[in-house]
């Protein structure tokens, strides 16, 4: 998922105005030769599984002749979807990640934006060091980041809890009321630097004459940031937003790791955890229906977000 976030760097499909000379017959095989090595595994390991998940979601398993009867798989239409949409735990998990996204994504992107603007401004010092320091967490695998923070949340081991306790009292990071935000902190810690780097790269690409001219006209650094830089950054921010939305709906690793030390994370804490637990209990059809529902929700939300922010850009 993370690399997909790189998409923020890129944007609308490249214009392909390149017009090579009319293809001669003898090199007609060339595109196929270059394309097949990618498309064969792409079909096998992406398109076929998507199709298979959909097919699987239309089935159900029945036992004929009592509890110990033979298991048979029959076509059930959209029955599994009705099951999924009526499953209050699943809906609860969707609500949970939506709440998570509404709080965590703006916090993270705002922080990334402020850091990028400061690193691009003339007021800060030691910029090279900071840039590297902020990017370090991205290099740390999600499982290990979650393990590390799990220790830092654990009241028996954590120096952070110890320090907070001397200042007053530390919150119970692993309790059920704090858990969602404890996970939010891990995600923010991991991805802020990465998002900052994308925004920063977009800023660096702007020719500095523009700022120079604004300064001549007497604009302050803050005004330049607000009036010139942020509008330029809109596409980069939109795309970091979309990929954060996708990442949030797919949340799995961090809660799964925290489950091993805290009972606040239930087996249906996020939609992906719910699908995983269903599959572990051999209920593949309903798990598939959940995955498909989740993927559709992701599509709708990310397109909706792009459309909404895109329209605001036009007006």
């Amino acid at each position: 998922m993370t690399a997909d976030r790189t998409a923020a760097t890129a944007a609308p499909p490249a214009k392909t105005t390149t017009a090579p000379t009319p293809p001669r017959r003898r090199r007609n095989w060339a595109p196929a030769f270059f394309l097949l090595p990618f498309f064969i595994p792409f079909v096998l390991f992406t398109l076929v599984p998507v199709g298979y998940a959909f097919y699987q979601s239309l089935l159900k398993t029945e036992r004929t002749g009592g509890t110990f009867g033979r298991k048979t798989t029959v076509f059930a239409g959209f029955e599994q979807y009705r099951e999924v949409l009526g499953d209050s735990e699943f809906l609860g998990s969707v609500g949970r990640v939506l709440l998570f996204g509404l709080v965590q994504i703006p916090v993270m992107l705002l922080l990334a934006l402020v850091l990028a603007l400061l690193l691009d401004s003339t007021v800060a010092r030691l910029k090279r060091f900071f840039r590297i320091a902020y990017f370090v967490p991205y290099g740390i695998p999600g499982v290990i980041a979650a393990l590390m923070w799990a220790f830092l949340y654990d009241p028996r081991l954590s120096p952070v809890v110890e320090l907070l306790d001397t200042m007053g009292s530390a919150p119970d990071f692993l309790g059920s009321s704090m858990m969602l935000w404890s996970i939010g902190n891990i995600v923010t810690w991991t991805y802020t630097g990465y998002n900052m780097l994308i925004i920063y790269a977009a800023l660096q690409a702007v020719p500095s004459d523009i700022y120079e001219a604004a300064r001549m006209d007497g604009a302050s650094e803050a005004k330049i940031a607000w009036r010139i830089k942020i509008p330029i950054l809109r596409p980069a921010l939109m795309l970091t937003g979309v990929f954060s939305i996708i990442g949030t709906l797919q949340l799995f690793t961090e809660p799964q790791v925290l489950r091993s030390i805290s009972t606040s994370v239930t087996s249906t804490y996020t939609p992906n955890l719910a699908a995983y637990s269903l599959a572990s209990s051999d209920n593949y059809s309903e798990a598939a229906a959940m995955s498909v529902t989740l993927a559709l929700a992701t599509f709708v939300l990310s397109f909706g977000f792009l459309k909404f922010t895109g329209r605001k850009a036009e007006s």
């Binding site: 090579p20 030769f33 298979y52 596409p235 992701t298």
Partner: protein, 303 residues
């Protein structure tokens, strides 16, 4: 015209010194406030890493009893010895597996992406735009949604719990194709391809000797980010693998951590193991910084 060289140029000559010298108007106060804020965030980003380094040098007892953010008796060497001998030395294979899944997977994936992106940018053929839209759709399919159906499909051919079950799905990177197409369109001039054709160079040779060279900053970027994605992939190995000799290091450390209640010594070992497994990836990123930053910047210009 050439996006890559333009932005690489914008990055290379120490922009910091140029920028600090051109702003005479900012007050001392704003410098202190801005730098202070950046420093606070840097502490937030680096403190957990520092804590990990400190903890990996402690004994299990000191881990609980002494203050977590400073060193006590230096025990790192013993921890490392214990780490590499635990469970018949399973940790080393874990590291090796991760390097193989991520290193070989990203290398193969980058090459496939570069070839496909190049073909989509530089050849005209029927169905090209359709293929590209399918690839774009693939970018939006979350990897976690694929893990379960992939497991069922691999189970049908009896290939779960094998190296290939994790490796093969990892080499597919629609996003890499997408980036490659942008980079190929921007950095491989048609005139050059035409010249190579006139000189009698075959299509393959032109790609491998010329286009690859021109696209190399982009390819380093794609390689690194795919490396991180595979290295981080947790759900796929979790559902595919039962044999712990095939585990990548992240899954191995996760299983250790979840057994701490049975074997408390695993706690210090999973911390030491985390530190050991993080070092190579951080070093790779720092060493290759120049390349991937140029690639990232070139991507950002397009938006």
């Amino acid at each position: 015209m050439s996006l890559l060289t333009d932005t690489a140029g914008a990055h290379a000559p120490a922009p910091a010194s140029e920028k600090t010298s051109r702003g005479p108007r900012e007050s001392r106060l704003s410098v202190v406030v801005a730098t202070g804020f950046l420093a606070v965030i840097a502490v937030y980003m680096l403190l957990p890493v520092f804590w990990l380094v400190v903890s990996a040098t402690k004994t299990q007892g000191d881990l609980v009893d002494t203050f977590g953010l400073w060193f006590s008796d230096f025990h790192l060497i013993d921890n490392l010895r214990a780490l590499f001998t635990k469970q018949d030395g399973v940790f080393l294979p874990w590291l090796f597996n991760s390097l193989l899944y991520a290193g070989a997977g990203a290398a193969v994936g980058t090459l496939l992406s570069a070839m496909a992106g190049y073909a989509l940018a530089k050849y005209r053929f029927r169905g090209r735009e359709f293929l590209f839209s399918v690839v774009l759709g693939g970018v939006l399919v979350p990897a976690t949604a694929l893990a379960l159906p992939l497991f069922l499909l691999f189970a049908k051919v009896g290939a779960t719990n094998t190296f290939w079950a994790v490796f093969l799905p990892s080499i597919v990177s629609p996003f890499g194709v997408y980036l490659s197409r942008i980079f190929a369109a921007a950095s491989v001039p048609d005139e050059l391809l035409e010249a190579a054709r006139i000189d009698g160079s075959g299509e393959l040779r032109t790609f491998f000797t010329m286009a690859v060279r021109l696209m190399s900053p982009a390819m380093v970027t794609i390689f690194l980010f795919q490396f991180v994605v595979i290295w981080n992939n947790f759900l796929l190995p979790l559902v595919m693998l039962q044999d712990d000799r095939l585990y990548p290091v992240t899954l191995g450390l996760f299983t250790w951590q979840s057994q701490v209640s049975r074997d408390p010594s695993l706690q210090i070992l999973s911390l030491t193991g985390s530190l050991v497994s993080v070092v190579p990836i951080v070093i790779t990123f720092l060493v290759l910084q120049r390349y991937w930053k140029a690639g990232l910047a070139a991507g950002a210009v397009k938006s």
